[in-house]
């Protein structure tokens, strides 16, 4: 196993092309434990953190560009980003300890393809796009199309995520992310729920609900979002029957595993609760401009 630290995207492409089966990494917070657990070591470890573009967060012309290897603590500490995407910021702020967040990246969280990855539902709810180095050029795809199953992605051998792009949210729009874990900190989600919604006065006009950890990949639940569209907001609270419909739709969309951290029935029920609570937080933020 050889370590390489290219300083350009093209240099990284060449390394991957010349050494099939090699792996790119940013924080290695998943990679190192996987190798230690017996996963075959790649011929070349390609460290992406010396490539400026992958370590840069830019906000210009109504769009954010987030380098795929940027430590997630750079996002949670970025006041402008957190003000615009409080849900996405809180999602990455839940991933491990400070030690981990100084290394972990959006690119790694997505490409590792854990069904429980906290950033992924929040990225999908915000329609984040992944820019992928592919062949000699790039291709751009919605984040929702990257993970195809636990540990599986649609990235071809030699492809890697360069950066993420996301448009500034429309006015009166905000997001929220909640997760359930068996402990209070430092654990893996048994249910994650991201909600992004837009309000017009006391009416919800748009809503996206995305669940994590309840299926092989993050799942968008169109029926849950649709339940909120047109719902009235009374003193900051979304109409109860719309919320009931949302919760039922979220529960129905689950295809969870049964494990020591949560049973199928528990995950289904909690998915509805988390989606409902995330919607309640998001609507407050959207109405109050937070």
């Amino acid at each position: 196993m050889r370590y390489a630290a290219p300083t350009t995207v093209d240099e990284a492409r060449s390394l991957l092309a010349e050494h099939p089966g090699s792996r790119v990494f940013a924080g290695a917070t998943d990679l190192i434990p996987q190798i230690r657990a017996g996963r075959p070591a790649p011929p070349v470890l390609v460290d992406l953190k010396r490539i400026d573009q992958l370590m840069t967060v830019l906000h210009e012309d109504g769009q954010w560009r987030i380098g795929a290897a940027t430590p997630t603590s750079n996002l949670t500490r970025n006041r402008d980003f957190t003000a615009m995407f409080p849900g996405l910021s809180e999602a990455v702020g839940l991933i491990g300890s400070d030690q981990i967040q100084n290394r972990s990246s959006l690119g790694g969280n997505l490409a590792n393809a854990s069904p429980a990855a906290d950033s992924v539902p929040a990225m999908i709810a915000n329609a984040v796009q992944a820019v992928i180095a592919s062949g000699d050029g790039t291709r751009t795809v919605p984040v929702a199309e990257i993970a195809t199953g636990p540990g599986q992605t649609s990235l071809a051998d030699g492809e890697f995520i360069v950066e993420f792009t996301v448009a500034d949210p429309p006015s009166n729009t905000s997001d929220a992310y909640l997760r359930m874990i068996p402990r209070t900190e430092m654990d893996i989600a048994i249910v994650g729920a991201a909600v992004r919604l837009t309000v017009d006065g006391d009416i919800v006009t748009d809503a996206t609900v995305v669940l994590g950890a309840v299926a092989p990949t993050a799942v968008t639940v169109p029926e849950a979002g649709a339940a909120l569209v047109g719902a009235a907001i009374d003193a900051g609270s979304i109409d109860g029957s719309a919320m009931d419909t949302l919760a039922d739709a979220a529960s129905a969309a689950c295809d969870p595993i049964d494990d020591k951290r949560g049973t199928v029935a528990y995950r289904r029920q909690v998915a509805g609760v988390m989606a409902r609570r995330a919607a309640a937080i998001a609507v407050g933020r959207a109405q109050n401009g937070v």
Binding site: M1, G27, A28, T29, I32, D98, N102
Partner: protein
């Protein structure tokens, strides 16, 4: 196995060493440089016993490949005292009996230093969150938290 020549700064001193490409920074610190303060607890980034500062940021050195350290500025627990004087965190831990077996202590001290460097006046909740990545299996958390609070008070007094 490839080996890489790494040049970096550790506790203010320029150092260089030869590291296997698949070895961790923690192994290089302990083996090549003889700095055995940072400990390997889990080796998977869960326990924080290997915590060091890299370019001022708190990291688990077990989750860093040694060659990644090229050009970086590293601080380990060996580097936080000032010549003959313990760091106020170390002194407060000693006085407050904030350690039992001591395995977690170097990592806790570094994590606490990272916190106080960024936030000299943390609340108890902020301290608990900042140390959430450092496990103590002797169950000494309350004494640790109180000692960090005491060190923060002393550091603020010294800064005045």
């Amino acid at each position: 196995m490839s080996r890489t020549h790494v040049t970096c700064t550790v506790n203010g001193d320029p150092v260089d060493f030869l590291a296997s490409d698949d070895t961790s920074l923690l192994n290089a610190l302990r083996g090549e440089l003889g700095l055995t303060g940072a400990k390997e607890g889990c080796g998977t980034g869960d326990c924080g016993a290997c915590s060091v500062l890299i370019d001022g940021r708190l990291n688990c050195s077990c989750l860093v490949f040694a060659p990644e350290a090229e050009g970086s500025d590293i601080v380990t627990v060996e580097g936080i005292a000032d010549d003959d004087h313990l760091h106020p965190l170390q002194q407060a831990f000693l006085e407050g009996a904030a350690l039992q077996c001591g395995i977690c202590t170097p990592g806790v001290l570094i994590a606490a230093k990272a916190l106080l460097d960024a936030n000299p006046d943390p609340t108890e909740t902020e301290i608990r969150y900042a140390l959430a990545g450092n496990l103590c299996r002797c169950t000494g958390y309350d004494k640790i938290i109180r000692s960090v609070q005491e060190a923060a008070v002393r550091l603020k007094g010294a800064a005045r």
